[in-house]
């Protein structure tokens, strides 16, 4: 596939939001006619969806408390009382 490398580059630039209107149209037109690139592009988009599914990753419920309890103590005010 001689077309592939160039268009794969375009796909990545597209996914980075780096394409201008003209390049985007070029990619779109190509994807309509090339099954293989279309497939590649779908796989990339799916990969991104999988990577973005982070919501199940959460620290333990008492995380904030643990952090606050581990902070160095506030500087004690000098007490003049004895």
């Amino acid at each position: 596939m001689t077309c592939k490398k160039e268009f794969i580059q375009l796909m990545h630039h597209y996914l980075d939001g780096d394409l201008n209107k003209e390049e985007e149209q070029q990619l779109r037109t190509h994807l309509q006619s090339c099954k293989e690139c279309q497939n590649h592009f779908q796989e990339l988009k799916r990969t991104i969806t999988l990577l973005e599914s982070n919501s199940h990753l959460q620290p333990s419920p008492n995380f904030t408390n643990k952090v606050i309890n581990s902070l160095p103590k506030e500087k004690k005010r000098i007490s003049y009382l004895r």
């Binding site: 799916r46 990577l51 952090v67």
Partner: protein
């Protein structure tokens, strides 16, 4: 929200420790997720996230109010985690993968006292699989992938956090994305 966070930071800088609580609560998920994507272990990720917040607190006076707080915080978390990876000795955790068992972890060797719903197991399996594939990437790719896909950070922010040129960020994202495409196409 960024304005509200900045107000809180002003209070922290004045010595108000309780103002830090809201800052932690607001950022904890993202910081934890970045650490986890990089280190691949829940205990270590939590430990690193905690350490990142403590460092942020201790060094709050070196935070420049004109910049985005999350960028500064993520840099601390990322550096700590990368540092840990470098120093890492083989360690065994309950949820570390058991060698040669293809994704099984120590939990699966413990008697199951409770049956999980099927879809939960399935999605957990998929998620474990995804993380394993991320872990197969070199750290420099993992770090851009973690930052890009955890908080949808801009390429410029990632470049700032990792202190590498934006062109390098792009190349690493492209390569990382391609590598994961190949590994994840059958999921």
């Amino acid at each position: 929200m960024e304005t509200k966070i900045k107000e809180k930071i002003k209070l922290v800088k004045k010595g108000d420790q309780s103002a830090f609580e809201e800052i932690v609560a607001f950022h904890q998920s993202k910081v934890y997720q970045i650490c986890y994507r990089l280190i691949g272990n829940t205990h270590e990720a939590e430990d690193l996230a905690q350490e990142a917040f403590i460092r942020a607190y201790v060094n709050i006076h070196s935070y420049d109010d004109n910049r985005k707080f999350s960028t500064w915080l993520y840099r601390i978390a990322t550096n700590l985690t990368i540092d840990r990876i470098r120093k890492k000795k083989p360690d065994y955790y309950l949820d570390a993968e058991v060698q040669g068992t293809d994704g099984l972890n120590m939990y699966s060797q413990l008697p199951a006292d409770q049956v999980q719903p099927e879809e939960e197991v399935e999605s957990l399996e998929i998620q474990t699989y995804i993380q394993n594939e991320i872990m197969a990437l070199p750290t420099k790719y993992r770090s851009v992938i973690a930052l890009r896909f955890v908080d949808e950070l801009s390429l410029a922010e990632i470049s700032d956090i990792l202190n590498i040129p934006i062109g390098t960020v792009k190349t690493r994202i492209h390569r990382g994305r391609e590598a994961l495409r190949k590994r994840l196409r059958h999921v």
